[in-house]
């Protein structure tokens, strides 16, 4: 896809997959093309979902876009609700056709926030940042919170 800017920066040197071409509709100018990002899997946490995979997502985040770019979408959700309740919710709706798998996992976004449900856990994020500084402290972090 075409993007404005970029031409004349070191992205031309560092990212050979970014192509610079004459703009087909205005050939006296050059424009950059970047290839799409196509993740194998997107992991998304929904505010709510229906049993057949329709998701209620945060309207200020990019989850719906991410889902549509990815080959497979694994969604977790705070709770499973009826379709009419989902449609009344505050957020954007992503249809189930984009969703590969769904799991009900309340709190599945922690320590980040779920709009309207739970706030960000700033202390937990600071703990992660501190632990991520070196391999030994990060291993202790993983042992405690992931493998423990």
């Amino acid at each position: 896809m075409p993007v404005r800017g970029h031409v004349g920066s070191d992205y031309e040197r560092l990212r050979p997959e970014f192509r610079v071409i004459p703009n087909p509709w205005s050939p006296s100018e050059r424009i950059m093309l970047v290839p799409p990002i196509a993740p194998d899997v997107a992991l998304i946490h929904a505010i709510a979902a229906t049993a057949d995979g329709m998701l209620l997502l945060d309207h200020m985040e990019d989850d719906a876009l991410l889902a549509q770019a990815s080959r497979a979408v694994v969604a977790s959700t705070e709770r499973i609700v009826a379709p009419e309740e989902l449609r009344r919710g505050d957020g954007v709706i992503l249809q189930g056709i984009h969703v590969t798998a769904l799991v009900e996992a309340p709190g599945g976004a922690r320590p980040t926030f779920v709009r309207g449900v739970s706030p960000v856990d700033a202390d937990a994020i600071h703990e992660y940042v501190a632990a991520a500084v070196d391999d030994a402290t990060f291993k202790r972090y993983l042992d405690r919170y992931v493998y423990g």
Binding site: G5, H6, V7, G8, S9, E29, A64
Partner: protein
């Protein structure tokens, strides 16, 4: 810095503040609460100042259409030609320092009419002769669409003006109490002066009062930690 930034906001414009930009957010809000009530203020992810319903794509598309009059960027390194580096220092494959990455900064330095670069620390490590990697160039070839570009650079010591003619930074004003000797010592390139270099007007009592009350309460909605620490006085 917030007061200096506020003076760059013109009433009625569309002004946007991106991620990790608490100081510009304060400056823009100060302007909005004083001389720029009709300005459209956009602060990323702020519950009251984020008009986009479709996530960041809508924001970037809006910016690519050249709809912002004023925007703010920073740099891990900033050089005398107005180039910004948000990627790496040293060999790109085995960098000595890795910054967060350019995100939209290679587009957002081109499309908004005026870009104010800000940096809360002024040292020779940041203000270098030549950035190692150019995420966002100060100047571009003539066959690239660039309706906007660098306008000012605001630091705790001074305000630089970007001079399109020489494609370089010129000291517009030194903040009160900062000497040319000090600025030279704390800058990695030799600062350029022109005949009109002055002293930055100090914040007024009224400006500080609004910053410490209404602005502080408003930025706290997106920058809670900044709001509790930055306004201590």
């Amino acid at each position: 810095m917030a007061c200096v930034i506020a003076r760059e906001v013109r009433d009625g414009e569309t002004v946007a503040v991106g991620t990790l930009a608490a100081i510009p957010a304060c400056g823009v809000l100060l302007a909005h609460f004083t001389h720029a009530p009709r300005t459209t203020v956009i602060i990323i992810n702020h519950p009251d100042y984020w008009p986009f319903g479709g996530g960041s794509k809508e924001f970037y598309d809006f910016a690519q259409r050249g709809k912002f009059d004023l925007f703010f960027l920073s740099g891990g390194e900033i050089d005398q030609h107005g180039n910004l580096n948000l990627i790496t220092v040293g060999d790109h494959e085995r960098p000595r320092v890795r910054f967060p990455g350019g995100a939209g900064a290679a587009m957002l330095y081109y499309m908004p009419r005026r870009v104010v670069v800000f940096r809360a620390d002024h040292s020779p490590r940041v203000f270098v002769e030549r950035v190692d990697t150019v995420t966002s160039p100060g100047a571009t070839p003539p066959d690239v669409v660039r309706p906007g570009g660098p306008w000012k650079v605001v630091t705790p010591l001074c305000v630089f003006r970007y001079d399109r003619q020489s494609a370089g930074l010129v000291v517009e004003s030194l903040h009160p109490g900062v000497s040319r000797e000090e600025l030279g010592r704390r800058t990695g390139f030799t600062p350029a002066y022109d005949g009109v270099t002055g002293v930055t007007p100090a914040p007024t009592h009224a400006e500080l009062e609004i910053l410490r009350t209404r602005v502080k309460d408003t930025v706290a909605r997106t920058y809670p930690r900044f709001a509790t620490t930055a306004f201590a006085h």
